[in-house]
Structure formats: C-alpha cells, structure tokens
C-alpha cells in the first residue's frame, strides 16, 4: 500500500439525538421503530403553522457543566457530547498526546452544521434590542460561527492536523465525514473526529422552512408526520442533535489494537446544478454521485446490502433518490434493504449525515437494518425494497456494504460507503 492510499476504518461512534442521549440508546430507538417527534411545548410554538419537531431526548444542560455550556451554541453542545462519546468509544483515555496512542499533529476534526449558531445569533440580537449593547455576550462570535462546533471538538481532543467545516446545508455532516476520510486516505492525518450537528428549533428557521412549503404541517399527528416514501408524505419534520464518528487509518487502529466497527470505503460527491432548492427530479445529480463512488473505490453494487436513504419525506426528493439508485445499480437495488430513519428522528439538517452514518455503521455492526415507520402505502414511484415497520436482519455471512445518502439545498449530493470488516 502506498502512502497516499490508506485504508480508513471507523473505531468510535457517538450521538445525541431525539431518540436518546448516546449512540446505543439512539440505535435501540431506531430498531424499536420509536418516533422522536412530538408537539413543541415552547410558548412561541403555539401560534406557528408548524408546531411539531424532533427535540433532543437528553437536554445538553444536564450533561455539560454550566460554565462550559453557556459559552457554546446549542449545536456545539450537541457536537461536543457526541464527540466525547465517540472518542471514549474508540478507546482513547485523554486528549491526543496525554493519551500516547495518538499524536496531536496527526489528529484532525471535521464537524459541520447546515445553519451554524442560528439560535445564538437570534437570541443575542434580542438581547441587543431589549437590554442594550453592554449585555451582548462576548462569546457571541465564537458561538455563532459555523466552524464553532469543529473548533470546540478540536480543542477537546487536541487536534492539530487540521480542523474543518465543509458547509453544504443538509449534506454538511456527510460532507464532513467524506472530507475526514480523504484526510486519512491522503496521509494528512492518522485519526479524525468527524460528524454533523444542528440546533435550529427556533421560530425563525421553522417559519422560514415552513414558508418554503418544505415542512409537514401534520400538527394533529406528530408521530405520523414524517413518512418517507409513503403516498401521503407532505414534507419533513425538523429535528436536532449530532452524530460523530472516529475515523482512523487501518494501520493506526491495528497498531493500538482498536476495535473496528467498519471500513469507511469512500464517498461519492456531486452537485445538481439544477435549482437552488429543488432536487433534480430525474435523479441525475444523485446518480452522478453514486457513479463517482463506484469509480473511485473498489465497491461493487452486488455488495450493497443496506442504504440509509436521505428520504426526508418531501414529495419530490424521496422519488428522485430512488430513481438515481435504479439508474446506477439497476436490478441490484432489489437486494438492498432501504431504510428512512428520518421517519423516527425527523430531519436533523446538517446533523443528519453524522447521525445516519452512526446508524449505518451500527447497522453493519449488528447486521440489522432499521425500520421505516409510517409507511402505510408505498408511493408507486418508489421502485425499491424499503424496510417497513420492523427492523430486518441483513445477510449473516460475508462482507456487507451500507451506503448513507445525504443531499442538501444548493444541489449538494454526498454518498458515503461503509463495509463490514
């Protein structure tokens, strides 16, 4: 193996989501088919057209010490909690350098969100108007900057090989993980902490997405509102939270005897160049990302056993994704167990690529595909084998590949591939 083509593996997972405060409780919620969506209890929500959301299961204020939490945007709080879990799960016992098994100069962090510190920005503007100049927090800028979660995670683990934040709306978390894979593959780093986070349950983002006609307004049935691939789907439900993984070169993981969840095979990336928010309806843009994945890795369509679909429960997007899979994988789609976990978690925007990567890696680890809840009547345009109400075992023998699709406003398409080891 040459020095610019390292094999990359996943050695740690962490999450805090609407289903649970860590990766294992999130996974248990997914497998049980539990919905994390409920009516919002905040006073401001009462008058909004959209009054449902997938709020975090464990308040970060109960996890982080208050002096630390008050200097972090909620999105950075989520990312820090998920990153700490992933770091410990990978077997590291302290910061890079303090734990001699990882060199800080060879450690990176890549964490992204779609919207950045939007609640900090809006809340501090309220402070400025209501309480005056002197009361605006001096922590406002580092809290609202989009690279804040990455920078805070980097500080937490002691990353000096590079700290990055690729922003691509709802593909941000997946693009962060793709960037991290490349850092290791190309030899820039041995270990990278990577993922996505989002915290935008606030009246302005909810009203703004609602006015785009992008969100479900099924306020009378919160748990049934997110229904990817169902004929009666009518938009996404906003969720919040973070998913973070530890990626590592296979040599580095082997040298320290780390447990390996899966190989990170690679990523396919493309752009639609079609419309600022509408997906390209034939699926050509997504198909281009899938083709790039096949062209840049040793992956074979016959190996793909499971896809964690982007499937946000919008009328157009869910269909375009399946069309793209058919274009590239043809009849092989028939043996792919497709899950839309947003039916349970809602759509975590920039956090989704992180959380769904955790779900995809755990699906391989447990050889079990999560269900897609609320799928009462499959859209006839969805020509694929969607895992419905119950979790489904994946083939028990042989190597399996799982894909995690993420797409974002702006026409960003990212497909990540993982393989059992």
């Amino acid at each position: 193996m040459n020095s610019t083509n390292h094999t990359v593996v996943v050695t740690g997972v962490g999450a805090t989501t609407p289903l649970g405060g860590d990766a294992s409780s999130t996974w248990e919620g997914l497998i049980a088919g539990r919905s994390g969506i409920s009516l919002m209890e905040q006073d401001w929500a009462a008058e909004l057209p959209v009054r449902i959301a997938a709020s975090i299961a464990v308040d970060p204020g109960t996890v982080l010490p208050r002096p630390q939490a008050r200097k972090l945007d909620r999105s950075a709080q989520f990312a820090l909690i998920a990153a700490r879990e992933a770091w410990a799960d990978a077997g590291f016992t302290g910061k890079a350098g303090e734990d001699p098994s990882v060199d800080p100069d060879r450690l990176g962090a890549v964490v992204a969100s779609g919207i950045g510190g939007v609640t900090t920005l809006l809340d501090q503007y309220d402070v400025l108007r209501e309480k005056g100049v002197r009361k605006v927090s001096p922590h406002t800028v580092p809290m609202l900057m989009p690279n804040g979660p990455a920078a805070n995670v980097g500080l937490e683990v002691g990353a000096r090989a590079g700290v990055h934040t690729p922003v691509s709306a709802c593909a941000s978390g997946a693009e962060a993980i793709g960037y991290a894979i490349e850092m290791i593959r190309s030899g820039r780093a041995d270990v990278v902490v990577a993922g996505g986070t989002e915290a935008s349950i606030h009246p302005l983002p909810i009203v703004a997405f609602g006015n785009m006609m992008a969100m479900s307004k099924n306020n009378d049935d919160p748990q049934g509102a997110s229904r990817p691939f169902d004929v009666n789907r009518n938009g996404f439900v906003m969720g919040e939270g973070s998913g973070v993984i530890v990626l590592e070169s296979a040599e580095h993981a082997a040298a320290r005897g780390a447990r390996v969840y899966a190989e990170a095979v690679g990523q396919g990336i493309s752009a639609d160049s079609h419309h600022i928010t509408q997906p390209e309806p034939s699926g050509n843009g997504i198909a281009h990302a899938l083709q790039n994945l096949l062209d840049s890795t040793d992956l074979k369509p016959a190996e793909v056993a499971h896809i964690n679909a982007h499937a946000t429960s919008t009328p157009q997007g869910d269909v375009a994704e399946i069309k793209a899979l058919r274009k590239i994988f043809g009849d092989d789609v028939d043996h792919m167990a497709i899950s839309a976990t947003k039916s349970m978690t809602g759509h975590l925007l920039g956090g989704t690529g992180g959380v769904e990567t955790v779900a995809s890696v755990l699906a391989l680890h447990h050889r079990l595909a999560p269900p897609t809840i609320n799928l009462d009547e499959l859209d006839p345009e969805v020509d694929a084998d969607v895992v419905r109400a119950e979790a489904r075992p994946l083939p028990g023998e042989g190597p399996l590949v799982a894909l995690n699709d993420s797409f974002g406003f702006g026409g960003h398409n990212v497909v990540l591939a993982f393989r059992t080891v």
């Binding site: 208050r66 002096p67 200097k71 002197r134 009361k135 927090s137 001096p138 922590h139 580092p142």
Partner: protein, 82 residues
C-alpha cells in the same frame, strides 16, 4: 450605600462562580483571573459587566486590562463605586 471590601469580594466570588464555575471560596484577593480562575479575556468582559451592574460602577474597556487579580478589581470598585 457603598459596598465594603468584604462585600465586593463576596460579590465577585459569586460572579466568578456563575461564569467560570470556580468555587466561591477559591476566589481570593491574590488570585489572577486568567491564571488561577479560568477567566479568559472573553469571560472577563462578562465578569466586568456583571460587576458594573452589581456595584453601580463603570469600568471602561481601557481599565479592564489593568484588573489582573481579584484584588485589583476589588480596589477599583471600592474607588469608583457610585
């Protein structure tokens, strides 16, 4: 009524505890905000704003850099409180 040195120290200890999480009993006159109490330059701004409100005093930005220790801040507030 003007606060005494003891009252100012007690008030600053509460503020530092609130902002940096340092136990109030560890906030003593000889302690450096940055080196001993985990109050960085951003958090120092918060300490100053809270102290201004509590002790009815104005602490201009140019004076903040001279407040290295808790004792410096206590003396400044004693001298300038309204």
């Amino acid at each position: 009524m003007a606060a005494t040195q003891e009252q100012i120290l007690e008030g600053l200890a509460e503020i530092v505890n609130e902002i940096a999480g340092i136990p109030a009993e560890d906030v003593a006159l000889d302690k450096s905000f940055t080196d001993d109490l985990d109050v960085d330059s951003l958090s120092m701004v918060e300490v100053v704003v809270a102290a201004e409100e509590r002790f009815d005093v104005k602490i201009p930005d140019d004076d903040v850099k001279n407040l290295k220790t808790v004792g410096d801040a206590v003396d400044y507030i004693l001298k300038h409180q309204g």
